[in-house]
């Protein structure tokens, strides 16, 4: 499989606080990677560096051959179109209804024709099981429904990779399943995904690789069966013993 994202010597500091310390990894096309680790270990920062919502302090992010850390704002906007992102707090636009949320970027960024954008948005809402909510406003939906709209919105730009930052952490337990189901379907359809999560069941079932992050490093990585059955580092052991 060809490389989709190459991360080379990535570092990120906030003032004196070095959050990411020299990370070098590769994400291959079609891979599903789950990033796990204790709170404050730098998982969100890592994910946000991948689409340069945070500007890395050092190192390179090479996405399909282009270095994102060293390009113009306009080129960066173009490349972000190809990387979808889903946030813990959904971040739907409350001033627009569901379908407008989904078709905003295709209409304004890709200049898709209105009719085509509506059709595509309708399809995606169908895919996440929310075709009947198209005209509603985000705040009238449950958390699980909002997160599924957010996934549809990201998919509307036909991204080549999807980044998820704890997509189910803000949800009531009974809504976690519906969102994970949508994500699993997406993984099975061949989407490249990087998922920061605390849902170990999902990680075991869906991930091709687990990256365990702690104190700004990726301390350990492996297939779910290797990692969960037989963690190598003491930190990973400690982490797993706490959450399982």
């Amino acid at each position: 499989m060809p490389n989709m994202i190459e991360i080379k010597n990535l570092e990120k500091s906030f003032g004196d606080n070095q959050v990411l310390k020299n990370i070098t990894e590769v994400v291959k096309k079609g891979q599903v990677i789950c990033v796990i680790g204790p709170s404050g270990s730098g998982k969100s920062t890592f994910l946000r560096c991948l689409n340069v919502l945070e500007q890395p302090s050092a190192g390179q992010i090479i996405f399909e051959g282009q270095d994102l850390t060293n390009i113009s704002e306009i080129e960066l906007n173009k490349l972000r179109e190809r990387m979808g992102m889903v946030f813990q707090s959904f971040n739907l636009f409350p001033n627009m209804n569901v379908i407008d949320n989904v078709k905003l970027a295709p209409l304004k960024v890709k200049k898709t024709m209105e009719k085509e954008a509506i059709q595509k948005a309708g399809q995606l809402l169908e895919q996440v099981g929310l075709a009947d909510k198209a005209e509603q406003f985000p705040l009238s939906l449950s958390g699980g429904q909002q997160q599924r709209v957010a996934i549809a919105r990201a998919l509307a730009m036909n991204p080549e990779v999807m980044l998820f930052d704890e997509p189910t952490s803000a949800l009531d337990p009974e809504m976690v399943g519906e969102v994970l189901k949508v994500m699993q379907d997406l993984a099975e359809s061949g989407m490249t995904m990087i998922v920061v999560t605390h849902e170990m069941g999902f990680a075991k079932k869906v991930a091709d690789q687990i990256w365990f992050m702690d104190e700004g490093y990726i301390q350990e990585k492996g297939t779910p069966s290797e990692f969960f059955a037989n963690p190598k580092t003491s930190r990973a052991k400690e982490f797993l013993s706490k959450i399982l």
């Binding site: 919502l53 979808g84 992102m85 971040n91 001033n95 970027a105 304004k108 960024v109 990201a154």
Partner: protein, 486 residues
Amino acid sequence: MKSKKIWIALVILIMMLLVPLGKVSASNDGYLQKVKDKGTLVVGTSADYPPYEFTVKQSGKTSYVGLDIEIAKKFAKDLGVKLEIKNMNFDSLLVALETHKVDAVISGMNPTPERQKSVDFSNVYYRGQQYMLINKKDAALYKNIHSFKNKTIGAQTGSLQYDLVKKQMKNNQVKGLAKLNDLVIALESGKVNAVAMEEATAKAFAQNNSSLKVINPEFNVNSSQTGSAMAFPKGATSLVKAADKTIAEIQKKNLINKQYIPLAGKYMTNNSKKNSMWNYWTYFAKGIEYTLIITVVSVFFGFILGVILALLRLSKNKLGKAVAVAYIEFVRGTPLMVQVMFVYFGVGAVIQSLPALLAGIIAVSLNSAAYVAEVIRSGIESIPTGQTEAARSLGLSQSLTYRYVVIPQALKNIWPALGNEFITLIKESSIVSIIGVGDLMYQMQLVQSATYKGVIPIFITMVIYFVMTFGLSKVLGYFEGRMKHA
């Protein structure tokens, strides 16, 4: 670091505003020719000084009348040009002359040595005595300047009478107001014990208000300080000479006593016969119209400029940010009244044809922009960063993000505050009356001088302002409710 930048930007801003003023004083005498070329003589006056100058309503229109106005008419006719009267506060007249807003000033003005330092005067065309207006019930108490002790004497700010009271009635207080009408109200309500004014004017007030009386307090007046003359810009000798010629003819024919004063008297009695407020509703209507025009136009431009300032202030561009911060702080740190005068007299000195209405609108818009900018900035900052990040992660540029995601949400949040700004402007715009813009406040003053009634026009004006602001707040409240449901 940051505050240093702000200071530098502030200084640059002030310098930018001041530099053009340097050009003003270059005046070599082409004055008469200029007036003839324009075909109009613009004369400034403070039309609340009957019988010299005051307003009457003639077939629904306000016109300026009085003996000074007659002289100005004759002067314009002798020059073969049209006459245009600009009405403003007495205080502002000389500034208007120096900044070339007007070609001449005729306003019962004494050619005092102080004034002669800054402007040139024609010969004296009329010499009246310095009188005092008192309440009739005090007639037994006050005979002359020596009967007053620890009293408060009113006089028009910047007038000869003000100086006389100050210098010759030292054990009394002087209360200076810009408008004679306000002084007379103060007299009637006991705020002042007497008002010093010129003979003819004092007599006019007494004639129209039976509770008032005139006395001759026997000020010690140097004859060079009395009498009225026309004022011209320093160095406008050609105009002064032309005026002297007109005045000589007027005096030869004794036109002032034979024609002008009797005519003014007729207007005054007419005025006082029909001084029911109903006869003046067109004044108030006109005032409402102007106030609304000024407010609406200023809200519009203030909003646009406010958005730009807010975006500059939030931008990453350091210079833009510093300029925006400096502008906002400066405007919010100075009174609107000074800003209005600065735009009219200061900027107006460079762009001579700047009309008062436009100057007023510019000043109010510029002022409002600073406040709107802060409202918008707080609105934008209240939008969670997650919204911006979600938009950017979809590939929206910074400007698309603002346009479709941030601004619409911010506007919804700040709608009530913007509405408040609108309402505030209706009230604050009343300040433009000082430069002679015909807004509601200004019309109120006209009605006061035309009717010799002080309090009723104030009351009516107050009610009108309240109806406008209350009505607007109801309308805005309705839309706010609808936006919430959207």
